[in-house]
């Protein structure tokens, strides 16, 4: 019974923890401009993250070490450093966006300017990362993030023309008035939103924090193959709400307040209160994940003691890196750069950095020295290789549409 409860909790946490500020903004923005014609990019991203999260979860459970702990050892310091630099930069940018997201969500609840909330959000994140147990931190944020299911309820209550929505979803193509470069720019942003590198960092390091063993490979797979796709459905619900309410009004999304408007229209005050709680939980949870991921990646590269499964004084350098990254993230948002703009750029740069994050996972997951008989099978390698090609294409193709479309304008 305890094991069933653990698996169910893992699934719920994976669903609630899947959506972050990038998913919220990118899906609402795209839904309001393109309807559901870009749903394929989210689906592709969800399949991709499932493929690589399964591999890194398996590595953590079997080898007892997170994937990136093994990258330097297996691929050497130079490739390890390239991997670290690319992933850390993108994760730090995402960390800033998440802290900004928490502040924006609190502004919606209080009408107090978000800049005043930024230091509060930063301090709260640091205290939680420093003091709160890993399992409590992960489960609380994930479960509260489930409140974003309100977007699914809102979509149902809006009673849209379902066949038309479905038809948009299965008929990719740029709508009239939108150019192909803009369409592909946002396709890459959605793909990047679903496949942000920190998700794999956190998933594999989290497995070690929770002391996974070979027996937990099944738990890890259920979390990934059930939780992540259901989290992807939440993203599609956000896009669907925007497509039904905002698109016909000619509203393009550039604030978090606009993302929640369809919920107000469909469900009213109570629904909107739940959505705001979901915004805070999703962004705060992702801020914790990205903050810890910064510490994980640096500490694992340099071989320092890391993690929350030891006392802070035993992993002092890990906690110092987390603190420094937090100060940088808070400082970035306090420069008054719009957090939504940071989010949009972080998604595209995330797509650029993806190969450096995911190629090493594929290599390690095929190494019998670490995984013995649990190395990738044919199916895992087929999907891994296919997605690596997609990731490479997205990485190379990310910048030209950004320049050609003035970042999607």
């Amino acid at each position: 019974m305890k094991r069933v409860f653990g698996v169910a909790l893992g699934i719920l946490t994976a669903i609630g923890g899947f959506v972050d500020i990038g998913d919220l903004v990118a899906n609402a923005l795209v839904g309001a401009r393109f309807g559901l014609t870009l749903a394929w990019a989210t689906v592709l991203g969800v399949i991709g993250i499932c493929v690589f999260a399964e591999m890194s979860g398996r590595v953590a459970a079997v080898a007892g070490r997170p994937t990136f702990d093994l990258v330097r050892e297996r691929l050497g310091p130079r490739i390890g450093l390239a991997n670290l630099a690319a992933s850390l930069l993108v994760t730090l940018l995402t960390f800033s966006a998440e802290i900004g997201g928490v502040a924006l969500a609190l502004e919606l609840a209080t009408s107090v300017n978000y800049l005043l909330w930024v230091p509060v959000a930063g301090l709260a994140a640091w205290l939680v990362m420093w003091r709160v147990r890993f399992s409590v931190l992960e489960n609380t944020a994930g479960l509260l993030g489930l409140t974003l299911v309100i977007f699914g309820v809102a979509l149902w209550r809006l009673n849209p023309d379902w066949p038309q929505l479905l038809n948009q979803g299965i008929s990719p193509g740029n709508p009239p008035g939108e150019g192909l470069p803009t369409y592909f720019y946002y396709a890459i942003a959605l793909f990047g939103a679903a496949m942000t590198p920190y998700e794999v960092f956190f998933f594999s390091s989290g497995g070690v924090e929770e002391r996974w063993t070979r027996k937990d490979v099944v738990t890890s797979r259920v979390n990934v193959f059930v939780g992540f796709p259901l989290g992807g459905l939440l993203s599609l619900a956000v896009a669907g709400c925007a497509a039904v309410v905002l698109l016909p009004q000619g509203i393009t999304v550039d604030t978090l307040g606009q993302v929640g408007l369809p919920v107000a229209v469909a469900v009213g005050k109570l629904g909107l209160a739940v959505a705001i709680l979901g915004f805070v939980a999703a962004t705060f949870g992702a801020a914790l994940e990205t903050g810890l991921s910064c510490g994980y990646s640096v500490a694992q590269y340099f071989g320092w003691q890391w993690g929350k499964y030891v006392r802070p004084r035993e992993a002092a350098r890990f906690h110092l890196v987390v603190l420094v990254c937090l100060i940088v993230a808070v400082g970035t948002v306090l420069t008054t750069i719009d957090p939504i703009t940071i989010t949009e750029y972080s998604l595209v740069f995330s797509a650029v950095a993806l190969p450096l994050t995911y190629l090493p996972i594929l290599v390690i997951a095929n190494d019998p020295d670490y995984l013995g008989a649990r190395v990738n099978g044919r199916v895992a390698n087929l999907f891994g290789t296919l997605f690596l090609v997609v990731i490479l294409v997205a990485s190379v193709a990310a910048i030209p549409p950004m320049l050609a479309t003035r970042a999607g304008q």
Partner: protein, 144 residues
């Protein structure tokens, strides 16, 4: 990673609005401005139309954000030097009128929201229908 600062600089610069050397380019920027302004105006109207379905803090934040974005769109358009062509001057004059009406209305909405004046909000939002229609028509007629 030596390329990164250059990429970031280019990305930042591509977000800026430059001069419009020809009337065609000016017209395209004007249409784009109208569409962006319409988006903010419609956001404010949608929020006001559902004011009873959201907390006051949410309504106020949405209206303040929309007003600020509208002001930024207006000032960016005003900063573009139009070509020396009567048609460009007409475009500028037509759009400036709509932007000015919209800006005044958005400010009024924010003031009324802070006073919790529901009737005033509804009436001001109603008056903005003509401006929204005008911006939509302008964007359609002059957009590519």
């Amino acid at each position: 990673m030596r390329w990164l600062p250059a990429v970031l600089a280019i990305a930042a610069l591509t977000g800026c609005v430059g001069p419009a050397p020809t009337t065609g380019e000016y017209e395209e920027k004007a249409a784009h401005t109208a569409a962006d302004a319409l988006s903010q105006l419609q956001t404010a109207r949608l929020a006001v139309g559902n004011a009873g379905r959201m907390p006051a803090s949410y309504l106020e934040t949405v209206l303040v954000d929309a007003e600020e974005a509208f002001g930024s769109i207006e000032s960016t358009f005003d900063s573009i030097q139009p070509p020396d062509d009567p048609r460009a001057d007409r475009l500028r004059s037509d759009l400036d009128g709509l932007l000015s009406d919209g800006s005044d209305g958005m400010t009024q909405l924010r003031v009324l929201a802070r006073r919790s004046d529901a009737a005033g909000l509804r009436s001001t939002a109603e008056q903005l229908v003509a401006t929204a229609d005008g911006l939509g028509r302008f964007a359609r007629e002059h957009g590519s």
